[in-house]
Point group: C2
Chain length 424, copies 2
């Protein structure tokens, strides 16, 4: 169990895994600007990740939102390109459905390419932040030379910090596979119920595999990692996960590579939930039974997305009736037949519901309260996760043919506060 | 526009419409008890609504939740009965999936019937409150004689107050139709996204129509009233709306009756949202276009249920990008094809989005902020609604073949607070 008692201890742990894979450089700069849409002083971080040479081995998954940001539109087009070399990333403004936003993003990549002396088609854009605002083109352009000048091949940690918006701590994970490594960073703290990829996630590896294998591995990993988390049920217009390889280390085989990638993605996904806006508890709902995978996943989401389940967990209040209500809401609304007499419900391993009845008494009430309290994250503590504990909720519908877990967070004052005036 | 500046002013307005229809009596009592599941002092209100004579003219709609409360199970069975005469209602404990809960509810009706000297099959049970706790049978039984003794044919208002749980104010509406009247009361402040009926709603009328007409009218009214509201997207295990008629006044015809019933239901539905747990703004999302009714209704729900849209409205922050994100999330996830170039979005009549682009500037930003501020309800004010203003959000998808409105509430600190430890 990872336990941290300060931001420094956490960052030191991250630094231990933060070395860039061989063949990559990165840089980040910060500047101030005034948005065209609101009189205020805003701050933007601009980040660049660059492979030393163009590579054919890359892949990405993007949001299914019908109004994707311009970077998503451009990225989807460029997925068909022969090669890639880098990612240009900004926070604060997401460049979604803005007048001229597509052209602005392309023009920035052109300028970046010129600055680096490479074909701008080798660059992919990523933006996250407020939806509806325009990118501050002039300010961003002015920052590009210093971005190019700052490239280094050391730690990935400054990039993990630079892509943050309301994230309270940086998220960086790595794994080794044979002689090579996979290192990933992610950002995302609100508007998070990825449906295809996640918020923003950048994965780098030096392991030599083919483009097809890489894309296959990425697709296989996202379903049970990024696509199995939800902070607030809102799927962003900008969700993206992208990976590229410098291919300088020998491959340990696709299976080993995929397992290492799965580890990195699963850990980043859990980090994203733990760092959700105002997250006071991480919940994992595990659904098991002789049921279709879609039902298992959706039922888990129904529980982690129920505001009443979320607020009860936040309050360390084992109001477990709300879990049954959420399960019944999902099953009833979607007319999914299950044998109710086989349904069992547990929290922290403690049996709550069986044979169509609650199993509650004052002793169990105290046990469950203590369990929730023990899993609590202090939302006032910023800059690092205090521990890795998870509130485990188990739903069994009879049989063991399918088993899926969904991660989610509770619903706290802090979440409301952060989102009631996010832009100020 | 109804505007109130005190609880007294509001209750006085309610009293003006609170006379029971001819042929009905009601009563309410309160007592304290200690739940079997948690060491605490709890208070329960027990309410009785009784027709002077058994009537064949009644109808009800119930929750679609797969784990309905025992009162819902019993009520659904008794819908086939030849006659009805009354409703026995308790708050605080909802009697859902409790050991012996079905038998307990029936036993209470038997005792109530004996006390009243009528067949207990003429009574329908209703319970709302904590899910998973058992009804305090002995305490409830002891309260039945005073309930029977308290029956009167005057104001319905004490009943509207007695059925409340976390409701901050009583909800009572009436309409006349010809020589007769329809009077309804409702309770509900959380776990509210009715899918078939609503929370608890009791409707009484003295208008003589047939059972078939009455059930037809109730079904017609609920789709666009109770089924078109959502406070927190959680569909309760206890949602019920029931109506009975004493049939002592001549009928003005089914059309006029249905219109009057629709008025009462629509007003009660809006009252329920305005009195949602911690509601700081009421939102109405109106979706229009050449689209199926199911899409129009679901798209409206997607916006009013988006935590990010809700928190922005709570903060009087016109972060309208989140509305487009929520629309795109719903359309994309459900693979619903729309011509995006025809989509327009308005807030308070102000155009925000058109031709696939946002139409935002600093002037509009200020206008929208002022609009949201004007529609605000002070969540600290308890006991009455301050006004009837609504944040109007308009989504047009091209064409006018279909038009559906959904009412919802914002997401406030108060909501989290009320639900983080509801049971204490």
């Amino acid at each position: 169990m990872e336990q941290y008692n300060s931001k420094e201890a956490y960052l030191s742990d991250l630094e231990n895994r933060a070395a860039l894979p061989v063949g990559f450089r990165c840089a980040a700069v910060t500047f101030n600007f005034v948005p065209a849409e609101k009189q205020m002083n805003a701050k933007m971080n601009l980040s660049l990740i660059l492979a030393d040479k163009p590579t054919e081995v890359f892949g990405a998954v993007y949001t299914k939102n019908s109004f994707p940001g311009n970077p998503v539109l451009i990225g989807k087009e460029r997925l068909a390109n022969k090669q890639i070399q880098g990612f240009l990333i900004n926070n604060k403004v997401s460049n979604v459905c803005t007048p001229g936003g597509y052209e602005t993003a392309c023009a920035l990549l052109d300028k970046m390419g010129a600055e680096l002396g490479i074909d701008s088609q080798l660059l992919f854009p990523f933006s996250t932040g407020i939806i509806g605002w325009k990118l501050p083109f002039a300010d961003m352009s002015s920052a590009l030379p210093s971005l190019a000048a700052g490239l280094h091949n050391q730690s990935f940690l400054p990039l993990a910090q630079s892509i943050m918006t309301t994230d309270s701590f940086a998220k960086l994970r790595s794994a080794t596979a044979g002689e090579g490594r996979i290192v990933g960073i992610a950002k995302g703290a609100g508007m998070i119920e990825p449906n295809m990829a996640t918020m923003l996630c950048f994965l780098l590896t030096d392991i030599a595999i083919t483009r097809e294998e890489l894309r296959q591995a990425l697709a296989a990993c996202t379903a049970q990692t990024f696509n199995a988390i939800s902070i607030d049920s809102d799927q962003s217009t900008s969700d993206s996960a992208i990976i590229m390889s410098s291919c300088v280390k020998p491959s340990p085989g696709l299976k080993v590579f995929t397992e290492a990638l799965q580890t990195v993605c699963a850990q980043l996904a859990e980090d994203v939930v733990r760092n959700g806006e105002g997250t006071g508890h991480v919940m994992r709902v595990t659904v098991e039974g002789d049921i279709p995978e879609t039902v298992a996943a959706a039922l888990g989401k129904a529980v982690v997305n129920s505001p009443l389940c979320k607020t009860a967990v936040f309050g360390n209040d084992p109001n477990v009736g709300r879990i049954i209500a959420a399960i019944g809401d999902y099953l009833g609304t979607n007319a999914i037949p299950v044998d109710q007499s086989k349904l069992t419900l547990t929290m922290g391993g403690i049996e709550i519901f069986k044979n169509k009845q609650f199993l509650l008494d004052t002793g169990k009430e105290q046990q469950l309260s203590a369990y929730l309290n023990d899993c609590k994250l202090d939302t006032a503590v910023k800059g690092y996760p205090q521990h890795n504990k998870v509130v485990e909720i188990g739903i069994s519908l009879g049989g063991k043919a399918m088993r899926r877990s969904v991660l989610g967070s509770d619903l706290s004052y802090e979440y409301v506060k952060e989102n009631a005036d996010y832009r100020s």
